[in-house]
Amino acid sequence: MSKPVIKVENLSKQYRLGGYGSGTLTDDLKRWWANMRGKDDPFLIIGESNDRSIASESQYVWSLRDINFEVEPGEVVGLIGKNGAGKSTLLKVLSKVTGPTLGTAYLKGRVGSMLEVGTGFHPELTGRENIFLNGTILGMRKKEVAKKMDDIVEFAGVARYLETPVKRYSSGMTVRLAFAVAAHLEPEILLVDEVLAVGDAEFQKKCLGKMGEVSKEGRTILFVSHNLGSMRRLCSRGILLQNGEMAYVGNIDTALEKYLNSGGGADEGEGNNKVVFELKDQAAQLLEISIDNTEGEGKSTYYYSEKIYLTIKYLVRQDTRNIGIRISLARNGEILFLSQDTDTHEDHLGKKPAGEYTVRVALPEFLKSGLYTISVFLMEVGKPKEEKIDILKFVLDDSDTDTSTKSFASDKPGILRPNLVWEYLEFPVHV
């Protein structure tokens, strides 16, 4: 085991909520007074864990609480968690943008951070000037930037615009240029926040590839992304943060699994493979939505070899007409298709007597690995009566299949895995 390059001990960060007014001064004076008497900061004990959805009296929250982990050289570590879990705060503390409230972090080697794309870009300056400016802001020497200029320009693919002010660039071009600079920074430790969300798919791929290369060169990456697919591919380990506290450190698959099981961003529902709804006083309502495989196992991760079923139960209290179910399936946040029960049976739109209905549909087999979310709608006369957006979440994993030679390998472009049948109508045979 080699020595770690990042070591974090009991790292905590407290924030004060709300605006600053005269009340702040009172707190500051109390703090100062405690300090003068050699006592501890009185506000360090009252902080609460940072659950953004719960309103509370306390104005002090722990954005990070007792974070402990070590990272070894060459590791790619993914930070996982819902919005507000403390991922960005952790990166900010490690990149020295803000200081910790308690605890210590030790870092070895040069630290480069990319918390935002294009920090310090100046719209009036040309592409070339901005490469110099941005590069030096990120910690390079000028002559280093000059040496890498050609690589950067080539990576960004903006050679034609090099002498044009950045204000004339499209936003995509700005992002490409900015990432290109950061990618050539060559720090020993690279801290990357969710910055790849911008830029087109092809460029994202290129960036992820570059990050993979970087880690192969023995440099360490700490990485935040909501693209769980790329996380799974890039990272060797994951750190799961929940409300500022560490929920899990270890294998990336386990971390992602735990994340998805914890609700993974879905705001409603206890599990992510089954949701049961409370009874409400309305003519028709959804009762239960679940997914499972052929064996009836409800899971959060499925493999290519499995067939995935979606089952929806709903209740109709009085005889009615024109009630139906519609679903939409999204892959990595992008809607792939809509489907509804009446696509198959048009007569289902007819009269529906009161009672409980259960409908089951198999998800298509052309899905490509990724994070999937299912939305379910109870339709009435063509309009959604109940909407459950992104109510279920699951990961489709390709690790049970060797896709390395296939066109639908997860690192290749494309969002579907259709099993197309190729038929040669002519095939010359040499004798």
Partner: protein, 315 residues
């Protein structure tokens, strides 16, 4: 109270094989760890006295690029461009000459009003600009400071450098008028050897303005009350600084000592004395100006470095 101690963050790109040479200073805040191994230690505690000038030196390229950026930005979309650097002090000087020299008939130590006021103006403008702009460093740079770490002092230092370049241009204007008076008007001028102090005078002005600016920006991240004072305070300060509008010799005897202790007054008086021959020069005033400027500068840098750690949380 929340600070972090650091030893070195790699802004120089020296080979990373020489870690052993990057030793830490003091280890009282983290005695248990092998300090030789880590390059950066982030913790709430840190020694009080930390200037971090080495870090600034390592990012000197950035200082230059920032300065260049700001200058380039200034020229953009103006017709007269750098000529404005001439017009601004020239107009002020003429107005001063008319109002204070003409209407109010105030003393100029027997010097031609144009030279007297211009000499005061170029230093005052330099001082005021550095003070005004550095006093909002944190607010002006919060978006970039919030996203990336680099030696924070680079931002205010680039302002000083920028203003210094403008000062250079305006000093050229002063020299033009100066030689016009000597060569064409035949003004008898007694030049003193203290003229060699000029570089020191310029540096002193920069240091005291920067120091004050850093103190102010650090004090206004959380409570902005002081910013109200700064905006009009700087204007008032001009009237309270002898040598800009009126010579030190005109100040009533009982206040002259106090007025002479104004570090900027000593600078301008020394300048006028050495170039124009007429002003109050004293080693005592000059010396105290040096001491005060250094104290302001050091205090400013210390307070700034302390604030920089967590200002993002409160601004």
């Amino acid at each position: 109270m929340r600070e972090m101690r650091e030893m070195r963050i790699g802004f120089s790109h020296s080979s990373h094989s020489s870690h052993s040479s990057r030793s830490s200073h003091s280890s009282h805040s983290s005695p248990k760890v092998k300090d030789q191994y880590w390059d950066t230690i982030l913790s709430p505690k840190r020694p009080f006295f930390q200037l971090k000038l080495g870090e600034v030196w390592n990012s000197r390229d950035l200082l230059w690029l920032f300065t260049k950026r700001d200058i380039a930005q200034l020229y953009k979309q103006t017709i007269l461009g750098p000529l404005w650097f001439f017009i601004q002090p020239l107009l002020t000087t003429i107005v001063f000459a008319i109002v204070f020299g003409g209407i109010a008939d105030m003393s100029t130590d027997g010097l031609p009003p144009m030279l007297f006021y211009l000499a005061g103006q170029i230093f005052w403008v330099y001082f005021a600009e550095v003070l005004n702009k550095t006093s909002t460093t944190f607010r002006d740079n919060q978006s970039i400071f919030g996203k990336v770490y680099f030696a924070r002092l680079i931002a205010p230092l680039s302002i000083v450098l920028n203003s210094f370049i403008k000062f250079g241009i305006q000093f050229t204007l002063f020299l033009l008028i100066y030689f016009y008076y000597i060569l064409i008007k035949g003004l008898p001028v007694e030049v003193h050897w203290q003229i060699v102090l000029l570089p020191i005078l310029v540096v002193l002005t920069g240091l005291m303005a920067l120091g004050l600016g850093l103190i102010i920006t650090s004090m206004t991240t959380k409570y902005r009350d002081l910013t109200f004072l700064v905006t009009f305070g700087v204007q008032l300060l001009m009237f309270l600084t002898p040598s800009v509008i009126y010579p030190l010799s005109e100040v009533a005897e009982e206040y002259r000592f106090l007025a002479g202790m104004n570090p900027l007054t000593a600078v301008i008086e020394t300048f006028k004395y050495s170039f124009l021959g007429e002003a109050t020069f004293s080693w005592f005033y000059f010396g105290s100006s040096v001491v005060i400027s250094l104290i302001l500068f050091l205090t400013g840098v210390l307070v700034f470095n302390k604030t920089e750690k967590n200002f993002m949380d409160v601004i």
